[in-house]
């Protein structure tokens, strides 16, 4: 199993890209053909991006699995629910309110910012706290690029994120027995937020984000458990204090603010020492468990952020 390596790979080496590039042009035709039928609703549209050297060499998880198996409780609690129930969600137009301890608070129009900041493709590992994992070719841009625009004040220590609340379009946000309080909120320390690995993703597999994966824009922090990756972001606030986060609120003994992938710190229900790679092999017998790496394999890049911290305490 290969470790994450800091950028040095030639972009031309990103082999799987050609494979789905041809798929992309096919999809482009399809998407154009369907565009009339679906005003406002996201149909994955081609999204151009320059390949980035931030990529792991692991085999990509098939797109089919990436887009049909994930947690997005706003659309239901089962992992097939997001794909099944997100058809009514309208990710365009989209604006993100960025404020708090910043010199230039502003409402950012997503379409506009996507033309102004270059989009990159990054192949990252994704490790869910439920002990499964994927390898996903995201498209997006560093969160730091957005933070630079609003100019955080010296007093800002944390960044808080908020998912949209739209019960009419997100069936999981209405009805009895809602598992979480809405909006879904997440947060990062400012230095984590500014780390070059931290991106806001607007696409995957060469296309705009499907609704079920957090359209139109979501956070991706590859060295943390997946639940840190807040989806469909409408609000970003710079704060001085550690902001509340959804899963920590729901179970403080089980989920922490940091949520760094750590094989040495178990979840009360799951040993985090190993993980099951989704989409490897066909059916029941092809799968394999692999060892989970500290910081999900990104230790060389990010371990320094936590120097001197007791990671068993700050889990």
């Amino acid at each position: 199993m290969s470790l994450y390596r800091p950028p040095r790979t030639q972009s031309s080496e990103i082999t799987p890209r050609e494979v789905y590039l041809s798929r992309r042009s096919f999809m482009a035709g399809t998407a154009a053909g369907l565009a009339f039928a679906a005003s406002g609703t996201a149909l994955a549209a081609p999204l151009a991006a320059t390949p980035s050297a931030y990529k792991v060499a692991d085999k990509l998880t098939p797109k089919q699995d990436v887009t049909t198996y994930n947690n997005f409780y706003e659309f239901g609690v089962n992992k097939s629910d997001p794909a099944a129930n997100s058809g009514d969600f309208k990710p365009t137009p989209w604006a993100i309110e960025v404020g708090g301890l910043v010199a230039k608070p502003q409402v950012i129009d997503l379409e506009k910012i996507m033309t102004e900041i270059p989009m990159e493709e990054r192949v990252y590992r994704m490790r869910c706290v439920e002990t499964w994992s994927m390898v996903i070719p995201w498209i997006g841009f560093p969160l730091s690029a957005l933070l630079d625009r609003v100019e955080p004040l010296g007093s800002a220590k944390y960044v808080a994120f908020e998912t949209v609340v739209r019960p009419a379009e997100m069936p999981g946000q209405s009805g009895f027995f809602q598992p979480l309080n809405w909006p879904y909120v997440e947060g990062l320390r400012l230095d984590e937020a500014r780390h070059p690995l931290t991106i806001l993703a607007t696409g995957l597999y060469g296309e705009t984000l499907p609704n079920q994966n957090g359209a139109p824009i979501r956070l991706v922090v590859p060295w943390k458990y997946g639940f840190k990756g807040v989806k469909s972001i409408v609000k970003i606030t710079l704060t001085e204090k550690e902001p509340p986060t959804t899963w920590k609120n729901s179970g403080p003994s089980e989920y922490g603010f940091y949520a760094n992938v750590n094989p040495a710190v178990d979840h009360p229900r799951w040993s985090q020492a190993t993980e099951r790679r989704i989409g490897e092999g066909d059916g029941l017998f092809g799968g394999r468990r692999v060892d989970t790496l500290p910081f999900n394999g990104y230790a060389d890049e990010v371990a320094g952020l936590y120097a001197g911290m007791d990671l068993k305490k700050f889990y």
Partner: protein, 210 residues
């Protein structure tokens, strides 16, 4: 409101039909699993399906008595089959956990069992089920006499352990577990009020015949 009873000669066949029908969902899931029809994480899906069907059949086994008491429908002939089907599902569930899920890595499995309350409760369920399954035959009933009844009262803590195992395995309580919690509460709660209920009934019958 007695249902038209099945002719006695068809009873054994109907019990076998119940076995066949009851094991069908598990076999079908296995078939789907082999041919890639269980989604992105087939092992977990299969494990969950087997656990869910185990819980359903445990509940079904414990619904026979209240149905007989309250609706005068006697399905007692099917209770053993329901219990044994539940047992087979738990065995399969446990086997999948040991092999496909944990890959037979014994140190990690032992650690899991000892450290995680929900796994421990599942083990309690399995350990209770073994003597119940082994004595689910006519010979044992004859041999054990009244002790058989006492032994099989373990079905109640079994159901409770199974429910807690399930609920603690979840990240959050949603509608589906809430339904199982309600069903199990009713099934076990009924056992608490049943002695009084039966006594009242008997008393009424006695006065009626007097």
């Amino acid at each position: 409101m007695a249902l038209p009873a099945l002719p006695a000669r068809l009873k054994p066949a109907s019990v076998w039909a119940l076995y066949a029908l009851g094991l069908m969902p598990g076999l079908y899931a296995f078939y789907l699993g082999i041919y890639g029809g269980l989604g992105a994480d087939p092992v977990r899906e299969f494990e969950h399906l087997l656990g869910t069907w185990a819980l359903r059949f445990l509940c079904a086994g414990l619904v026979i008595t209240p149905i007989r008491d309250l609706l005068s429908v006697n399905l007692i002939a099917y209770r053993r089959a329901l219990g044994l089907i539940a047992f087979y599902y738990v065995l399969a569930h446990f086997t999948v956990y040991l092999t496909l899920d944990r890959g037979l890595i014994l140190t990690s499995i032992l650690g899991d069992i000892l450290k995680r309350p929900y796994i421990m409760l599942g083990m309690v369920g399995l350990l209770i089920l073994i003597p119940l399954a082994l004595t689910s035959n006519r010979w044992s009933i004859r041999r054990l006499g009244s002790r058989w009844n006492s032994l099989h009262k373990l079905a109640y803590p079994l159901l409770l352990a199974a429910l807690l195992h399930y609920v603690l395995s979840l990240k959050s309580i949603t509608l589906e577990p809430a339904i199982y919690i309600a069903v199990v509460t009713v099934l076990l709660g009924y056992r608490l009020v049943r002695p009084k209920l039966m006594e009242r009934r008997r008393a009424r019958r006695v006065t009626a015949t007097r």
